[in-house]
Symmetry: C3
Subunit: 376 residues, 3 copies
């Protein structure tokens, strides 16, 4: 009986330690051992284990088996934990997440021509690495530490939102917002990505965005690319202004966003001017390879696709020039209009679009003047 009592005391004491102690020291690890997994994994994956030890999960009794169920399930699922599992505790976040484009990212990827046209190893190394956000909260909440500091850092968003076709990270970092945040690391001093796109912690990242999201079309659409009404557009602009006016006057903020609207229009107008000569070339049968000579577009067939969902494989040279213009340069112009990055709007964007326009006109002229003559 006394032994039982003693053991109970030890058990209660251990439990208290498990709940209370901020277990950051490695020596403290054994005291918070929550299950069978640890005996092995402390040795075979020490980094993973240490991350969990330092997590809020560990402090709140959320351990390996809470999420991974058991060794067999973990193995079968390749250790994947789906958002539904996280949502058992984090319901509000899951519901918000489901309203965002993040929640359909993998599905949309799989029907895109770009994805369909590349080998599986490139899909794994590129597309799926980011689009899997649909299936895993740990795209942002890095395993197994699940640190809010990590998830809220601009670099967390920037691990996917970067690169030639959507340099959100680079545009932010080259804006005054990004510059001041980088120096101060103080989110009260300058906004991070989450300040404007996830205010109040909402996981509906379509908050306040009324001009996208696809990025390669001028229409205003929702996260499923359905056009939205003028009223809805205005409602979203107001949402965003509500964030801006924490630091800026409403007049200033409105002026800036409306200027960005005009930058977007100017960019799309420039792109339209580049389409006409290419369409003419195609009508005159001067594309090489012609639409008939090449593999059909996976979703658009044998039509001339300029801008989204245009592909970059096996097209003619003049189409490829347009691809760079729309996919890389036009997006920099208008997206950095809203992200206030002068170098991306102009240097990496507008200037490049103007150079593209020269290249396209030159190529169209050449095809008309030379190849046409030769065909005679």
């Amino acid at each position: 009986m006394r032994t039982c009592l003693k053991m109970l005391c030890v058990f209660v004491l251990s439990l208290s330690l498990l709940m209370c102690v901020r277990a950051t020291r490695k020596e403290a690890v054994s005291e918070i051992d929550p299950g069978f997994c640890i005996h092995c994994h402390q040795g075979v994956t020490p980094g993973l284990f240490q991350s969990w030890v330092e997590s809020k999960h560990a402090k709140n009794g959320v351990h390996c088996m809470t999420c991974h169920i058991d060794h067999q399930v973990a193995s079968d699922q390749k250790s994947m934990i789906y958002p539904e599992k996280c949502g058992e505790c984090h319901r509000k976040q899951l519901e918000e997440f489901r309203k965002s484009r993040h929640s359909i990212a993998f599905d949309r990827m799989r029907i895109q021509g770009e994805y369909l046209g590349i080998p599986q190893e490139i899909r794994s190394a590129f597309c799926e690495r980011c689009h899997s956000i649909q299936q895993r909260c740990n795209s942002c909440h890095n395993s197994h530490r699940f640190s809010l500091k990590e998830a809220r850092a601009p670099d967390a968003c920037g691990s996917c939102h970067l690169g030639p076709d959507h340099p959100h990270k680079e545009m932010y970092e080259t804006s005054l917002h990004g510059t001041i945040y980088k120096v101060t690391q103080n989110p009260e001093r300058a906004p991070r990505c989450v300040t404007c796109h996830m205010p109040g912690g909402t996981h509906d990242t379509s908050f306040g965005i009324a001009r996208g999201p696809a990025g390669t079309r001028p229409e205003v659409v929702d996260f499923r690319e359905t056009p939205i009404s003028k009223e809805e557009e205005q409602r979203r602009r107001e949402e965003m202004l509500g964030v801006c006016t924490k630091c800026h006057s409403r007049r200033f903020a409105q002026e800036q966003l409306e200027n960005a609207d005009r930058v977007k229009e100017a960019g799309f107008e420039l792109m339209e001017r580049a389409k006409a000569p290419i369409q003419e070339i195609e009508r005159e049968g001067l594309l090489y390879p012609s639409l008939a000579e090449r593999l059909p577009h996976p979703t658009e067939g044998r039509s001339l696709v300029l801008a989204d969902p245009q592909l970059y494989v096996g097209t003619s040279y003049v189409e490829r020039l347009f691809f760079s213009m729309f996919k890389f340069h036009s997006i920099r112009v208008w997206k950095s209009g809203y992200h206030f990055s002068p170098s991306y709007t102009h240097g990496y964007g507008w200037t490049e679009m103007q150079l593209d326009l020269i290249d396209i006109k030159e190529e169209a002229n050449r095809l008309k003047e030379i190849f046409k003559d030769m065909k005679k």
Copy 2:
């Protein structure tokens, strides 16, 4: 009488608090309320207000109306504060600033062909965002915190001095100077931009620069682009060496700067080699569109402009190739010569210039061989 005395005590106590307390806690705000503005702005622009609360200005009794005069003036001026206003207290800095190119940045922008040729929305989103430094100290001293830490950070300079046509930030960050500073954050360990360009806190940023500043011409000029004497050139080099020798031997520093001089010459020499074939093409009437067929250059008329102030809109393809060479690549070669960035000198610079030269020669050859024949 005793009430008066009591009130005086309270007033003196409040004043002491206003002057002495490091008012970083938000609760302390009402104690340092300096004027009428705060009653609204604490609520409508809380971020802006909080930045001011944490500023040295707040601690020294410089409040909203010290700079903005009153609500009407603030509204009329769109809250702009001109350097002359700041100079009422910061006279030395204003006088030094007036000797620098920063102080004529907006005026020079407005007479440049590049500026004249783009829509107002792009001007607002790009050119004016940086060139407005002529009119506002808060380009570097970010409102309303006016933190020296922020102003002295390489990223403060880098919020304008970056991008394809003047990647000073990128060159610094990829130099050993920038690398060591990034890791240590210690300006005694490695120089920041201000270490070499604003030593001792001078706001004359032309300090020590004897090879520019325009960047696209080989001549040695002052900040108004007037050529300077050999003696003045030597005086400036000595200024810069005075900074280098804090960490390096004079022999080493001199060797490095003289090597950069030679790198600059090699870059300009390569650019000259690319001009000849284009000038020949133009003389032979093979440019498309020809100088006669296109809009005249806003400042140079219908002449062939190669290098500064060459434009990138509506020119021929061969001129556009040269534009990339001079505007983006040549500047990386020589400016990173002085900023000691191997990858920008060579990879992003010299290599690209050599590739440009191949492209230009090929295009010139093509125009001569093919189009000439066709004209016959």
Copy 3:
């Protein structure tokens, strides 16, 4: 006698101070003065001196003359300290260093065609700045602080391993590894360069690398570019897996590395598809300038060189297109396969290679269709 005793006490006390005191305050400097050099250099190169004062060297009695011998030797050697000197104390590190490609970096540079074909000022500003790692430990262990924090930072490696032709730094920074490290600055949370390439502090940086190192050839070679056996290749993969499995399951890590192997193969296969049309063009005598008309390749003579050691000066346009493809784009595909950077694998790599392929086919077609006709 008593005076002697007193002086001895003072001497012992001073020595204790020299050995024990963490001499970071500038006032403490004179107490640890170790030699004659300081009387001048404290004044003429204060930054350099202060760095040494804060170093472990200073605390352990390693002073100017321990490494620089005397003023004459220092002057004759331009203050260079060769690895052999450092190895007198740091023997293990020197021996490991000698097994790495770092130890032959300068020798290999000097026989490369690229180096032979550029002016000395560019060599000094670019090639030699990094390749001199063969001759100096302070490429990573920055003088005169020799801080481990600085040497182990990803930016230390990244001061050379960056740029268009080997963007290791950029690939790491855009991977999830680099992102988490940047936010946490915690090497237990995410790997730095040294975690995988110098585990346990080994200075043999060829650890675990079985797929290079040259980077522009598909063969698996050692650091002297001698092909290695399948067994050796497998041994190195196991070395690397030993690092990965600290945080990841073996299955996951193996899958990731094997996917990278396939990404590499896909990249090289794409490059091969671009070679064929160029070789055909050359056989038909359509290269301009032809191999006979140009300077011979410094090491390969008058043969058509596609991929390593291809040069970028004075070649034909179609070869120059291939140069960009192999030198810049193919390397991004496969190297970021192993560094897990989606944007470099695809956006900056695979996409660019596909665009290159269009450009090359177009140019080859043009040369065949047009110039051939003209030659008739």
